[in-house]
Amino acid sequence: MKGIYTWSAIFAIVFASVVGDVLLARAMKQVGDVGALWRRIGFVAVIGRTLGNPYFLFGVTAMAVAFFSLLFALSWGDVSLVAPAAASLTFIGNAVAAKIFLHERVDRRRWIAAGLVAAGVALLAG
């Protein structure tokens, strides 16, 4: 029974952090190249533009949800299961979500990279 709780919390972490990453990536694409903007409109204006982007605020909220899901997951399961499982599933989830929602060209090279990194993270933290 505890296993079900732990895995639900792990999926909550993965879901929230994938949503957060996709929203933040979209927000920053809308803001534009930060380095170039900094030179053109100044540091404070770049910060203001980023914080004023609705996708950015939703993204940060999703990241906060992911963080609290992590706290719950850690209270139910071992850190040696929760941390690698959540991290490696997030890599795979992000590749899928970036392809669907951000229309990134996730070619074979990127699938292999995401798969290798996900497997490596699972081994490293396990």
Partner: protein
């Protein structure tokens, strides 16, 4: 991708790894925090390791957002996963912890994954963004020599007047 952008990616990697390890080191000193005693969080922040860890994670977030402003999510995430490798190497060579063969395999897989991504383009060129940003180059590829010729022809007259 220029040198400055690789520096930002390195920043994402190092800040995340360093921030996480400082935070975990500090939290082990302060002890566990329960939901019933949330005031423990305030004492945790007063721990210098935790404070430095939080500053480093803020730096991580700033560099991560910068990287996402000019590179794909599916490029930034694998590229910065070397942080896990960095943590394992620090554990092995600075803290002299034992790193099992399975973990070395994990390091090899991550490094291989980063190698795969590094050779490809950092940003997907979208048709609609390309149209919006460089409309002339997207539409009039065939006309480009013509434009260049006009510019060449125009230049001498500009100099003369």
């Amino acid at each position: 991708m220029n040198f400055r952008k690789y520096l930002v990616l390195a920043g994402v990697t190092v800040f995340a790894a360093a921030g996480d390890s400082m935070l975990s080191h500090g939290m082990k000193q302060t002890g566990s925090i329960s939901l019933n005693h949330l005031q423990g969080v305030i004492f945790a922040v007063l721990n210098p390791w935790v404070a430095i860890g939080i500053l480093l994670l803020l730096a991580f977030f700033a560099t991560y957002m910068t990287a996402l402003s000019w590179a794909d999510l599916t490029y930034v995430l694998p590229a910065t996963s070397l942080g896990y490798v960095l943590l394992a190497l620090v554990a092995r060579f600075l803290l002299h912890e034992h790193v099992s063969p399975l973990r070395w395999l994990g390091i090899a897989l991550i490094t291989g994954g980063v190698g795969f991504i590094a050779g490809g383009p950092a940003l997907t060129e979208h048709p609609h963004t390309a149209k919006a940003q460089d409309a002339p180059s997207a539409i009039a590829v065939g006309q480009a020599p013509l434009v260049a010729k006009n510019a060449r022809n125009g230049a001498p007259s500009g100099v003369e007047s």
